[in-house]
Symmetry: C2
Subunit: 741 residues, 2 copies
């Protein structure tokens, strides 16, 4: 014993590293896999990323632009040169572009908004004026409105509650909201629900301007005339072409009339710079805005209405445009009908170096390096499908139409979908199906961070500990496990996971970029290379991570799904929604007591308007037991499956194939046919983007949003629905267990 | 029984109100007292406050100015006219005023700071240029320094820890700090300790400018050229004349040499407006300041050093000036040697309408109305002493010198000291000796809020509930008890309580003012009447509260001290300092583990300077049992005293007099001769201003600051000292109990 203790620790670590296990692989296959991964890493060349980035960001490349199609063809040709069967996959989608944009303040000294991002000498492509899409919000309504302005903070429902307390009504008004705090499309949607007739969204320097760092081009942050473009389609209802919900927007698809497309915004919406916003905000009268509503402009923020009226006129070309996805396949040697799909979008609002090309060129290098491995004899057992999506920016158009168009095939064949998007210097971040959690953790222990040389997991752990609240830090030590986030919306994984229940992940690095030109002309090559990922070290790191995910899924003997991680996560979500109901109850009681005892009346400043809210209905007790009982069954099955998992490697090949099919199709049972209330396109019962938050995920969305909306009947119905869904899911696990016994 | 239950509730309430008990009074005397209080209330006339305010704020009235002396004489004459023996009490104090003020940025385009608050047409007295003290920090050092600038946020010790992490050293530099986050004198003191050679302090618009509300004169907030004057004497060591610590600054007092006066700042310090600060802040290079350091200027805040050097030249007239307190007495009819002292200062930095005249004119009206009661036959049993202090602004000069000069007499006679200062619209706020807590609560139930008509306590309760964090609100319902704050420093109560242990309170209204021109020329009559307390409703309310305190103390049969409230409060403080030690231990262990495991190194952005701090020594366990045991004894005695208190009313007069003397002198036993470590002037062992926070109180300061400074030996010594002090205090209570048995 003593002798063993004398072995230096380093040797053990080295041995552990050299006999690495890989989840889902026999020991022999694991060793081969790791050897291929090392060769893969050695293949990666940042010069390639730079070459492709330069080419593809040289011109604006939004849907319908010449460079958009050129990029698709460029990529398809490259994929072919690397040994893939690549094709362009086209859909014809409604994609409005601006015809008229006018914004003015009808004051004594009239102000006309500039609505233009000027050319900067230090940013070469900013000069390509004639090719650029002007700043606008896609799927805004046409409109010509003149009204007083009201400041609505982030423009989320809680902000309107506050305005009601301040006695401000937005009916018939134009609202101005800050970017941030929700997905942008929520702002005009909620404004319209409250009766506003127009909506402006501006980038406050508190969020991505001088308050954060020096302005571009001296620094990386949004300059005074910089504008965030973006879609305001009501994607929390359904993404993709508004005219073809649930089906592919093929040439001959049956299309809705535009007036029947419910995801098109009801009022005109325009994004503006803070230079354009400043005179409008200075015209606001009324009470001083609440402290938490303040931005970083050198003014007193008032809620309005404004002293002067605002005139907003917007007209769009409501054209059908053709988009071009690139789909590149490498046939699996053993299971060609099991697809490991990965994707990144290639379209941009303008030149889009960070968003999306930083992720796209990493994906291309993954594909190229895998092609090189194949030349050396590597054979993926399952089919690799690399996708370069078009039309992500307007509404996840390319991915959604492709998924809708290939629904049946994907339900049969899709093992997983792995997404990336903008990528920059910093720390690994990952969200996705929680069955992937141990699998992903294993990979983060095997890829090193390019700046520090420790594993990605170790660096992320260090960051978590250093950033943790002092009072909370002690209990975090030693817990290096990386919890996956849940997927909401915001990139092309949405149709895969939300609509079909295909196990999905989204991966990227970030947190150390030195700028933000999100959806601006200044998200350019010049910007990216200086502020986001100089030298592409993190584009290469992303390639290592994503390729390991893809290649391990492609070659695993038994697919690396872990139901126990899923159970634990959903159990936590159930605890959360139960707590949410209790918190809602306590807060409702307190709020009603404040009202009943006239404490709002007594506390308020009598010289200011401050309207006491109406009492709310009491919160009933709700029966969570169906979900709780379903979770017990899930737990038992998931734990048994976890115990048996290793033994699966010893099954005969035929049985393993059946087992794998059960494993990768299990999550599809979470995506039920009738979908979520009021948005049937969203079928997944565990993860969805928030109906009133947009990007932000709502877990157990049917239950959680019903509670948030105080719809107790719907909460109870959805508890029942989630329970049934979990039972169906558990029965899939039980099928797998039966195979293993 | 049933019949009784049928009585409407209102009748009981009415009966309860009409047979009000008053703490410390026999039932008969209580009825008389309440009757006098009603007559007092009826006497109050806001027109008086306005008349005196107009006269006394018509010219700048700082120490040494003609209006300062004129105001003292004006008040003395008025007090005399109301039936008081009034005298001017003069001291000769070191009061520096500026001779030279120069601040410039030595940039390619040189910038010379304006250092002047311009005349505003809407603010009449702002035009009195020749009479105004220019903007400066009193007791700054003379100096002529040229150096690079570093931004130090609030300039407290934790900010220098952060600068060290960012690799920025202030040695040989000039620092620029924001006002706020500490008493201003802490900023240059800490800067000098870190080797800085000059200090600028500016008013960031985030704190009292456009971020809060519209700028004066359109609104009430500090305009771009507005400056906060103020003292930077090291008052946490001792206040008052720096040349005469511990003794009155009489004509023939033995004075220190100025060079030996340790409370005079070591480096030149100048307060500036944000208009003057902006070009300096724009010159800062180096890293972007941490997010929490940002202000509301439209720039990226950098920590520095600056690209250009700053030149700061300050010279002062180090003159001895005469100050004029007004001391007005009304002899007590039964106990002339028991003094109820109340005070407010009368000097200002410039015209000082809010600070201090809003409180001063309320005190004058109290004195006048009491004079009217006396004409109708009212006789206070104890002597009333109304004080109007001079020289509060520079260093609590007038009150401190008077207290030091009358120390022996005060230790014999002073029953209590009740302070006020600036007063404005809003909610009652009170701090003080916790023996006064039930007494004060009783009064807040008997004075109504002028805006809502409910009791002050009820309105404060409403505000507390409405402002409470949602998650915390439920447990606050029903608890209307007003906890007194603890007294730190910041006004004239300091020498009374901190130096002599005389039971003290500080009372004022606030929270609904619509502006802030603190220590600026714009704290004027025009400003006050529009934004602070239009109509003086809260000046009148303050008169009602403060007069009730004074008159009840003056007429009580048994003085209304409650030791049990004191016990509970100190017991809470003891719990806090024990928790502080444990938190310090946990955080030290976590911090050292971050360092040891190189997590700081791994988490940091390698492109930026980010220096890992040195590990700290481990936190030992400390023996709190002496304090815990002393608290048990205090608890037992305090509870017994509380049980016996009512019976005291039945004692023979002679015994009551002895008892009262014990009661009012008890707190003096908390002020021990040797005082606090490194600042013997501060003798109170329970309350003190923080050595490194200034205004902010530190309770159990000897123990708490020792832990904060990681001086474990001193913490243990001070536990022992506090225990002995509490034992001595308990023995006073036991003397009272002995009298009662």
């Amino acid at each position: 014993m003593r002798k063993i203790l004398l072995f230096p620790l380093g040797i053990f670590l080295f041995q552990a590293a050299s006999s690495q296990k890989v989840m889902g692989f026999t020991e022999a296959n694991a060793a081969k896999q790791i050897s291929w991964e090392k060769q893969f890493d050695a293949e990666l060349k940042s010069a390639n990323l730079d070459e492709w980035m330069k080419f593809m960001t040289a011109h604006p490349h939004h849907v319908g632009s010449p460079q958009d199609k050129a990029n698709a063809e460029y990529m398809a040709n490259l994929f072919r040169s690397w040994g893939y069967q690549a094709e362009l996959s086209s859909y014809d989608v409604l994609f409005p572009t601006p015809k008229t944009r006018q914004l003015e303040l009808l004051s004594a000294k009239p102000f006309k908004a500039r609505l233009d991002e000027p050319v900067l000498a230090a940013d070469k492509t900013s000069a390509l004026k004639s090719e650029q899409l002007p700043s606008y919000n896609a799927y805004s309504a046409d409109g010509d409105v003149t009204a007083e302005l009201v400041y609505v903070n982030r423009g989320i429902p809680a902000d309107y509650d506050e305005l009601a307390r301040l006695g401000v009504d937005v009916r018939g008004k134009i609202v101005i909201a800050k970017y941030g705090g929700s997905w942008r499309g929520i702002k005009p949607k909620v404004a319209a629900e409250h009766g506003a007739i127009g909506c402006l969204i501006y980038s406050d320097p508190a969020d991505d301007g001088y308050a954060i760092g020096d302005l571009y081009p001296d620094g990386g942050y949004r300059p005074k005339d910089g504008v965030q473009r973006g879609s305001v389609m009501d994607m929390p209802v359904y993404p993709g072409d508004p005219l073809t919900p649930n089906i592919g927007a093929t040439k001959d698809a049956v299309r809705l009339d535009r007036k029947d497309a419910i995801t098109i915004m009801k009022i005109p919406v325009l994004p503006i710079s803070y230079a354009d916003a400043l005179p409008l905000l200075q015209s606001l009268a009324g009470q001083v805005a609440p402290a938490s509503w303040r931005g970083a402009l050198p003014i007193t923020y008032h809620v309005g209405p404004s002293r002067d009226k605002v005139h907003l006129k917007l007209e769009f070309n409501w054209d059908i445009k053709t988009l071009y996805n690139v789909i590149a396949k490498m046939q699996g040697s053993e299971f060609p009908d099991e697809w490991i799909i990965s994707g990144n979008h290639h379209d941009a609002w303008v030149n889009g170096a960070d968003d999306p090309m930083s992720g796209m060129v990493s994906e291309m290098e993954q594909a190229r390096a895998i092609g090189e491995l194949v030349k050396k004899g590597f054979r993926p057992k399952r089919t690799l499908v690399f996708c370069a999506w078009d039309g992500e920016e307007p509404a996840l158009l390319g991915s959604t139409e492709w998924v809708e168009d290939h629904q049946t095939e994907l339900q049969q064949k899709a093992v997983a979908y792995i997404n990336s998007d903008g990528n920059s210097r910093g720390f690994i971040g990952a969200s996705g199906s929680h069955t992937f959690e141990p699998f992903f953790n294993e990979i983060t222990e095997q890829v090193t961070d390019p700046q520090t040389g420790v594993t990605l997991k170790q660096r992320k752990y260090a960051k978590t500990l250093v950033d943790a609240d002092k009072t909370n830090r002690a209990k975090l030590f030693g817990n290096t496990y990386m919890k996956l986030g849940a997927l909401g919306a915001g990139s092309d994984y949405s149709p895969f996971i939300q609509h079909l229940g295909i196990p999905s992940m989204n991966i990227g690095f970030g947190g150390e970029s030195a700028g933000n030109q999100y959806h601006s002309v200044y998200d350019s090559y010049d910007f990216f290379i200086k502020y986001m990922d100089p030298g592409y070290a993190y584009g290469i790191a992303l390639a290592k991570v994503k390729a390991r995910i893809i290649l391990r899924l492609a070659c695993a003997d038994v697919l690396p799904f872990d139901f126990n991680s899923f159970y634990k996560t959903v159990n936590d979500y159930a605890t959360e929604v139960k707590a949410l109901l209790e918190t809602t109850r306590t807060e409702t009681e307190s709020e009603n007591r404040l009202i009943r005892e006239k404490l709002y009346e007594l506390a308020k400043d009598p010289t200011k308007t401050n309207i006491t809210p109406q009492p709310k209905s009491n919160v009933p007790y709700v029966d969570f037991s169906p979900v709780e009982n379903a979770l017990v069954q899930l737990k038992n099955s998931a734990e048994e499956m976890q115990r048996l998992y290793a033994s699966a490697l010893n099954l005969p090949a035929e049985k393993i194939k059946s087992l794998n099919t059960i494993l990768y199709q299990a999550e599809q049972s979470l995506a039920i046919e009738k979908g979520l209330p009021r948005r049937p396109w969203y079928r997944h019962q565990i993860y969805a983007p928030g109906f009133y938050t947009g990007y932000g995920v709502k877990t157990l969305p049917g239950i959680r949003e019903a509670i948030e909306q105080r719809n107790w009947k719907e909460a109870q119905d959805n508890i029942q629905q989630v329970a049934l869904t979990l039972i169906a899911y558990t029965s899939r696990i039980n099928q797998a267990i039966a195979l293993l016994k």
